[in-house]
């Protein structure tokens, strides 16, 4: 009997030894909160179970990816990048979706190539920078911009602005962490500002409407502004300690739209108050900080840049979503990571943390 337990333990250890316990605990805590909030916001046991099942799949992906040494992952990177681009192209041909064609119907589940890009784009940028001279030259930056720009352009054309933003950010973070000189950042920022009025021309009418609504939500109280006003009422009425679990009237009386997905953080804020907000934002900060630390422990440039970019992208989810539901930022379709209801983003995020853990576990073996 003891032999059996020991054998099982050894077997489990072989699979789990690359995991980073503090980071894992942080993620599990957020997922636990997610299930509690979904039980209140969704109100239905089946959807809570579904969400738990997605987390289980994501955790499995995390464990599997933590087994791959970053050097192995690096060899497969160009292939992964090309394959995800091909799938993205395929979406234009056979994709399905309600407002935009974002999914490919695989009969068993829907595949959203945008989610794959959130991993494959930073991978490709890290792969390229790994063999380039650092800090990056103009030539290196130009090629990096092409690697990032192609998938981001295609994603925005779909049109899926939220995913485009996150994919672009993931690539840009890799370049930033690689040590791009500050004066070059300044040049890019200047170019970006100059391009803003031109970019405005290309925005979809609904996207322009969102910007106007953001500037003055009360101007359209029954249309686009309704969401933001109701969300702010939900958050503000929560107070310091919240109305209590399951007591949030905003969501339950159907004032809050999308209260299990993009606006779930409002439900959480209403029911658990400012204290709850501090706890959850604190957990998110811990997850990002720990991931950055693990990234800095990685053995090579590829692992470092990739893990660091994934960690910072995760923080963009949090900042954009929390800012959007409170009316600090325009409404962009970005979920609260690991809190919102929905499958693909939870799985790809957890898979990303598998890569982060792998980078941290396959450490430097010599000084530097």
């Amino acid at each position: 009997m003891n032999v059996l337990i020991r054998a099982l333990g050894a077997f489990a250890w072989r699979w789990l030894d690359k995991l980073d316990l503090p980071l894992l605990l942080g993620l599990v805590a957020i997922m636990g909160i997610s299930l509690v909030v979904q039980a209140s916001a969704g109100g239905d046991a089946a959807s809570v179970l579904k969400q738990a099942a997605r987390f289980a799949v994501g955790l499995a992906a995390l464990v599997v990816l933590s087994r791959f040494a970053p050097s192995t992952l690096r060899q497969w990177t160009p292939l992964a990048y090309v394959a995800s681009l091909a799938l993205l192209g395929l979406v234009f041909l056979i994709g399905t979706g309600r407002s935009a064609n974002l999914w490919i119907d695989l009969k068993i589940f829907y595949l959203q190539p945008g989610e794959l890009l959130k991993l494959s784009v930073p991978m490709m940028v890290a792969w390229f920078l790994h063999q380039a001279f650092l800090p990056p030259s103009w030539r290196t930056l130009a090629i990096s911009a092409a690697i990032i720009g192609l998938p981001v352009g295609l994603t925005v054309l779909q049109p899926d602005f939220g995913t485009g933003l996150l994919v672009g950010a993931s690539g840009v973070f890799a370049v930033f962490l690689a040590g791009i000189a500050w004066w070059r950042i300044g040049v890019f920022a200047g170019l970006g500002l100059a391009a803003l009025p031109i970019g405005w021309q290309f925005l979809m009418p609904y996207q322009k409407a969102r910007v106007f609504t953001f500037l003055d939500p009360e101007s359209d109280p029954l249309g686009e502004g309704w969401n933001i006003i109701q969300s702010k009422i939900a958050i503000g009425s929560g107070g310091a300690t919240g109305k209590g679990w399951g007591q949030g009237t905003q969501a339950h009386l159907d004032f809050l739209p999308e209260h299990t997905t993009d606006f779930v953080f409002s439900v959480y804020s209403e029911e658990f108050g400012w204290l709850g907000v501090l706890v959850l934002l604190g957990l998110y900060f811990f997850v990002v900080a720990r991931s950055l630390w693990l990234a800095s422990q990685a053995r090579d440039t590829y692992g470092r840049l990739l893990a660091g970019a994934l960690a910072l992208t995760f923080s963009v989810y949090v900042i954009v979503n929390a800012g959007m539901v409170a009316g600090f930022l325009p409404v962009v379709g970005v979920p609260m990571p690991l809190l919102s209801y929905g499958g693909t983003s939870a799985v790809s995020l957890l898979a990303g943390f598998g890569i982060v853990m792998a980078a941290g576990a396959h450490r430097r073996t010599w000084g530097g």
Binding site: L134, G179, I233, I235, L253, D254, W274, L292, A326
Partner: protein
């Protein structure tokens, strides 16, 4: 080391150091952003809390669905077959109830609650959104409403809500046509969600079978919305804005409920099925499947016990035999065989075949028998139908060959759904080489062609297919889609819109062929040797028909089986196809009497009673019967 060869002048230590500086900077940036968010949330939740708390309290505008009235169903003379009746139901909002068991106990003293209703309520609670009312009991009685009204204030979260329920005034008479609605279950809600039609979950009912299901999208109409201002207890005070519901369309059927009633009576308690079609249009005049069931049982949610009883009844009352049931057509197939033979030029009305009592394929030891020992002698087309001479059709089948039989019967609508406006129609089986290869991975044997000629072997037809074919014989040789709905109407006073029908397909090119078959079918009913002559005796009008018997057990060797001595469940199905009046048909009929023995003894008398009911008594003694106009 490989990486050193690949990038000889890089400094990994410096790269690592650079990364750590940037990572630290980023981490600080993220921390600062999150801190700013925390401060922003603090302003909303602490500083401006009072303001938002007040606005939350005042948030009293609710979006309520407006439920449309379901479309009504009328027969061809405007008699209501399905309507809506006002009723009251008992709703509970579980979140507003402190002690559910105690509440249920208290309600039980005032309202009759069955275990089924409690169980259904508990199940609905598990799958439902929070703060959504859930129906505990539908169709409260007047007395129950009065008892609840007295002390409703004692039950927070309990509401008595008016709604429209569905009613089928004729009960089991038209159950297999109209079908029934039932309560919307979780599967329905999921299906609606996947089609982006979640608003229909607000409806009390959804069509589950029959026309109620086939025409669900048109009967249900469209759900409207109203913005309602409510008080703190969430009770509506006034309506701010209203988007009206779209009522469902009414259906006008081709069914004549009087004929339907006569059809049921014609069976005199026997089980079976019958369909009557207007040959000129393909409209179904009556359609019964016996035994039937009461669709009203399903409307408010059928009890588990009632459903089990219906579902496990060996007579299968829920099963629509006309559309779903199949059997070998036996001799009722012979008129169609004759038509195929005439079309291919293999027989003429004058050509004859000699029946010796047994038909043998060249070189075969075993023969195929006529029903009369010793045979019928020399037989032409008319007598082959009147006396139902197997040898004539064994011979014809061999001349045609299975490939021509398959092709010609496919044209006549066999082996595929007719397209009736009911769901789940069976296709039956049209024997062919391709079908047999698919089904049995075997080639075709000549002996199988022989028995296919008399409607035995692999043949499976539905009563509906036989009725469609018979209507084609009775009419002008055109195959029409049998259908139940003649027209729809967007509401009382709106114009009736005829339901579009697919174009009729020409099956018979030469009217002489139809006349020759008609001659044989009239001889069957009125000729001295006719198998249906006893049933047709004494009729003031002339009818055409063909009897048949579908075998449940095959004849072995020379031994003859007495149908009346067989066990009940192994007895033959008695069949009849025919139309009347023979020279200018207004009704085409196909029917099957289950376990009825022979077609001429069991099925033809039922057909006679149905024809009599449709055509009515002779108008006046002075008028020639042939010239008589049938009832509309």
């Amino acid at each position: 080391m490989r990486r050193w060869r690949a990038r000889p002048v890089r400094n990994p230590a410096a790269e690592g150091e650079q990364f750590r500086r940037r990572a630290l900077l980023s981490g600080l940036g993220v921390g600062a952003a999150l801190l700013a968010l925390a401060i922003g949330y603090g302003r909303l939740q602490i500083q401006q809390h009072e303001e938002y708390a007040t606005r939350s309290e005042e948030n009293r505008i609710r979006l309520d669905p407006i439920v449309p009235a379901r479309g009504l169903v009328y027969d061809r003379n405007g008699v209501l077959l399905a309507d809506n009746a006002p009723a009251y139901r008992l709703d509970i909002v579980p979140e507003r109830v402190d002690d559910m068991p105690q509440l249920l106990a208290a309600l039980r003293e005032r309202v009759a609650l069955s275990e089924d209703e409690i169980r259904r309520f508990e199940n609905a609670r598990k799958g439902s959104r929070r703060f959504k009312p859930i129906a505990l009991k539908l169709r409260l009685s007047e007395e129950e409403i009065a008892r609840l009204a007295v002390d409703r204030h004692r039950f927070p979260g309990v509401e008595v809500v008016p709604y429209l329920t569905r009613r089928y005034p004729f009960g089991d008479l038209a159950a297999h046509i109209v079908g029934y609605v039932g309560r919307i279950d979780q599967d329905d809600i999921d299906a609606m969600a996947s089609r982006g039609e979640s608003r229909f979950a607000a409806l009390p009912h959804i069509g589950k079978t029959g026309l109620e299901r086939y025409y669900e999208a048109r009967l249900r109409g469209d759900v409207g919305y109203q913005e309602v201002e409510t008080n703190v207890e969430n009770r509506p005070l006034r309506v701010l804005r209203r988007h009206d519901a779209q009522p469902g369309a009414d259906l006008h059927l081709s069914i004549d409920i009087t004929l339907q009633q006569a059809m049921v009576e014609a069976f005199q308690g026997q089980h079976g099925a019958a369909i009557a079609i207007d040959p000129a249009s393909g409209e179904i005049l009556a359609m019964v499947s016996l035994p039937s069931y009461d669709p009203n049982l399903f409307v408010g949610g059928i009890s588990f016990r009632d459903y089990k009883a219906l579902n496990e009844d060996p007579a299968r009352p829920l099963f629509n035999r006309n559309v779903l049931g199949g059997f070998p057509p036996g001799s009722t197939l012979k008129p169609f065989m004759a038509l195929a033979g005439l079309k291919e030029g293999l027989i003429t009305p004058e050509s004859t075949v000699f029946s010796s009592g047994e038909f043998r394929l060249p070189g075969a030891a075993r023969g195929y028998r006529d029903w009369r020992p010793g045979g019928h002698g020399t037989i032409n087309l008319r007598e082959s139908l009147a006396q139902s001479v197997n040898t004539y059709y064994f011979d014809l089948a061999m001349k045609l060959g299975i490939d021509r039989i398959s092709a010609d019967f496919d044209r006549m609508g066999f082996g595929r759904p007719t397209g009736i406006d009911l769901t789940g129609e069976a296709a039956g089986v049209l024997p062919s080489r391709a079908w047999k290869q698919r089904r049995f991975k075997q080639g075709w044997f000549p002996g199988e062609t022989v028995i296919a000629g008399i409607g035995q072997g692999y043949w499976v037809t539905t009563p509906l297919q036989l009725a469609q074919g018979t209507a084609m014989l009775a009419g002008d040789g055109l195959l029409r889609r049998p259908h139940l709905v003649r027209a729809t109407q967007a509401g009382f006073g709106a114009p009736r819109v005829p339901e579009p029908q697919p174009a009729a397909l020409r099956v018979v090119d030469d009217p002489q062929h139809l006349a020759a078959v008609n001659d044989g079918l009239v001889a069957t009913m009125h000729g001295p040797t006719g198998s249906g002559a006893r049933a047709a005796a004494g009729a003031w009008y002339r009818m055409a028909g063909k009897t048949g018997t579908a075998q449940r057990v095959s004849r072995q060797g020379a031994e003859r089986l007495d149908p009346n001595r067989l066990p009940y469940h192994l007895r033959h199905q008695a069949l009849f196809v025919g139309y009347a009046p023979a020279d200018k048909p207004t009704i085409a009929l196909a029917l099957v009497v289950e376990h009825g023995g022979s077609g001429s003894l069991a099925a033809a008398p039922v057909a006679r009673r149905i024809f009599d009911a449709w055509i009515g008594p002779p108008p006046a003694p002075s008028v020639e019967p042939v010239a008589a106009e049938p009832r509309p």
